[in-house]
Symmetry: C2
Subunit: 478 residues, 2 copies
């Protein structure tokens, strides 16, 4: 690979000097993301000014060099893996954040972490609700690339709902701005939102203007437990029927609860060990929260087996810690995980719960499932032992069946992770030939030479068959 | 024009029979929108089933017949005027609305009015906040075409913020669905949002799934008056600095107030006649509203010349009636109006107020201005007498200067109306050559034969030079 782009890489070094790293070590570090499958690039570029990205793309476009952008590489989908080699652009040095405290807008470089934006906003009384579980590490550029969500999605929305403007470069190296630092914009085709979720395949985002909300004054946390998954999901629907909007509504099925309890060496809900739970958080003005409590407690009384309010912020934090631990603990059930962030429409909740129970039985696999009930985005974790060929085959069949069922129920194969490499085998379950053709036409129109993150989205790859690196990241669930 | 597409139209009639109207009267009625400039089409199609639109497009694409979609034709921009003739698709018969009361989602055909969706939602305790001033007439398809907004935009967002899925047809006649009836979706390029605001140039939307919010239990209205425009806009910034989010924050400058007072034969704010005002509405839970009142009243005490709470819903309605009347009354200041829905970033509010005062003086024209301060979307109404060539020239120069200034201040040439024909001369002030080129590449990719709403957006036309029809609409401001 290296040799293939040698002349182009020499020219790149002449233009950008020390920004370009061709060392073995530097290239290896940029060769994989959290999918842990390595593809060596010819060079890594670490820009310190936005215009340097224009130089990279102009050269890449001229010499047909693949360009893959990475933030922190937290994606599990392989979206940041340079599968065709070429050049990797590492955005981490472009990480400034500024907040307009009157307008409630943040301006951030693509390399700023989601947490850094939240912190900058919070200092001025504003709230940036985007909360992917890796938010301390992942960058807003990465969030934009896969239209990331998180637990707050049901109430506050996903990345797309916070982006008012983007800036960056077309695959040709031309600078562009989509939208303005205002909450309204209706002038020309909406290429801003086309870029969101396009996984770096239509250009490179260098900065964003983001909408903020007032920091909620109060929070209230309630833990509820249920006899089984069907009753839990049915109860959730009854809650939403009350027209209350929880900031978070997290569901953990029995297997997830058992995993979390083992990992924490504690019972989540004393007296209700091993039962599926829904963990609720409400956020808003103090009076608003008081208003909502009565409704929610009456609902819990009627629908749950038991419920427990967090008496303090600390107690609430303990409950959320349990939620965060459940994912890592799953590796006791298998050494490999197919983690699918599917979305189920609310009208299909019970049907899906029944399907999942059947899938666990027929696949003879543990499939702990948890997720965000306010928007139907569930993380279905198919656990298996990689060395056991029969088990691996059953896992692969289970994923296929899961994806087909989700789409048949009117849902989506991904709510917040994107397609990358990992979901490429399922894209055509979601999208008809006409839809895929339209997407590919847009790709060719904006990136005629196909240099931006090639090999992703449209070409089916079974990434779970590749050998994984034995590396660990601070954001690993394990 | 009619002869040009005669063979294609005959085939269309064979396929769709009575859905196709080639009568002089039918074609004339579909020849213009609220820009009131007429372009006769060869036929009008009134589909009763979505699939009929696929037939129209497949034929149009084969025979290269221009296709323009219309809802009620409320757009002022000429977006629904069939400027190249061909066929007009009238969506009004496709107007079903259904609400999923648990999930808080509405499913609507493109021909449903915004009001019909609001009403269907309200019946089930849900709230659809989109409120273009023509909402009783305009269709959701039209809202989607221009990414419509309204007074609620600052708090609740614009059309784009409510659309979770779209369905419809590509210019080739192929059926597509973008997104699912869920609040999260991250699978493939986001052509849903690319369609929003694309003014029917990339396909035809036949239906949408829309996000609803819980119906607010309480509302509170406050009228505030100011010495001049600069103080009013400065005060608005001070209000937003308190991290309160009004559902509506409408500004009327002196000229708008005078117009409204003449039209209503009353004083908006007794004792403050002719002064610029800001009309505020807060919406939410009863306790939440009580919470916010203290903050807002303290702000009014400090920043306004005078303030007055609406004591009842009826009194509030009277205040909003004043706001709605101001626009029509402007025709006392000139028989013609260049109505520009520009957007100004909050940081530039005072600067813009000073610019506008200067523009009024230098152009020697009345330019009453009102609009939505929570999102900076201001309606600048340049009034002139069409028969007076010098005045018309000054109006045209003023528009040009306005657009250049707005973009220089970091704002937008349109917040909620779109480009259509009317804003085509200004598109390149907003967008660089690279940006326009990228948009045109996307257009060619999805509509290679250029049949969908041709002649719009990219080709500069001075529509105000055309002769206007002497017709009036129920939604006319006059």
């Amino acid at each position: 690979m290296k040799e293939k782009y040698a002349a182009a890489t020499r020219e790149l070094k002449r233009r950008l000097g020390a920004r370009v790293d061709v060392s073995e070590k530097g290239r290896f570090a940029a060769s994989f993301d959290s999918s842990k499958v390595s593809f060596m690039p010819a060079a890594v570029i670490k820009p310190r000014a936005e215009k340097e990205i224009g130089v990279v793309l102009e050269l890449a476009n001229r010499h047909r060099v693949p360009v893959t952008v990475r933030g922190r590489g937290t994606t599990l989908m392989g979206s940041a893996a340079p599968v065709r080699g070429g050049w990797v652009v590492d955005m981490l040095a472009l990480n400034k954040v500024a907040v307009d405290a009157d307008a409630g807008l943040a301006t951030a470089h693509a390399g700023a972490t989601t947490q850094a934006i939240q912190d900058a906003a919070a200092k001025l009384g504003w709230f940036f609700p985007l909360d992917p579980s890796s938010k301390a590490y992942c960058t807003i550029g990465g969030n934009i690339a896969c239209n990331a969500g998180g637990m707050h999605g049901g109430k506050y929305g996903v990345t797309r709902d916070f982006v008012v403007a983007l800036r960056g470069f077309l695959p040709t190296g031309e600078f562009v701005e989509w939208g303005t630092a205002t909450k309204k914009f209706s002038a020309g085709f909406n290429l801003r939102d086309l870029w969101i979720g396009s996984e770096g395949m239509l250009g490179i985002v260098t900065g964003a203007v983001l909408k903020l909300l007032p920091q909620p004054a109060a929070r209230w946390t309630l833990l509820t437990s249920f006899a089984d998954e069907v009753s839990a999901l049915k109860a959730a629907k009854a809650l939403f029927r009350q027209r209350v909007v929880p900031a978070i509504c997290e569901f953990l099925d029995r297997e997830s609860v058992v995993c979390a309890e083992r990992a924490m060496k504690t019972t989540i809900f004393p007296g209700q060990a091993g039962r599926p739970v829904i963990l609720l958080e409400f956020a808003g003005g103090a009076a608003e929260i008081e208003d909502v409590k009565a409704t929610v407690l009456a609902w819990a009384q009627e629908h749950s087996l038991g419920f427990r309010e967090a008496k303090s912020r600390e107690e609430a934090e303990q409950l959320w810690a349990v939620r965060r631990k459940c994912s890592g603990a799953m590796f006791e059930l298998g050494d490999s995980k197919l983690n699918e962030d599917i979305v189920v429409p609310m009208r299909s909740y019970e049907k899906f719960a029944r399907f999942l129970a059947g899938l666990k039985r027929s696949a003879k696999l543990a499939i702990p499932t948890f997720g965000h009930l306010a928007d139907g985005n569930l993380h279905v974790n198919i656990m298996y032992h990689r060395a056991d060929a029969a088990e691996a085959k059953r896992a692969e069949d289970a994923v296929q069946k899961l994806m087909e069922t989700v789409v048949a129920l009117g849902g989506a194969i991904s709510g917040e992770h994107g397609i990358g490499l990992a979901k490429t085998p399922f894209l055509r379950i979601q999208h008809s030939p006409a839809q895929v053709k339209a997407m590919q036409a847009v790709k060719r129109a904006l990136d005629p030479k196909g240099i931006c993150n090639p090999g992703k989205m449209f070409e089916p790859v079974r990434i779970w068959k590749f050998t994984k690196l034995q590396v660990s990241f601070p954001w690993d669930h394990k």
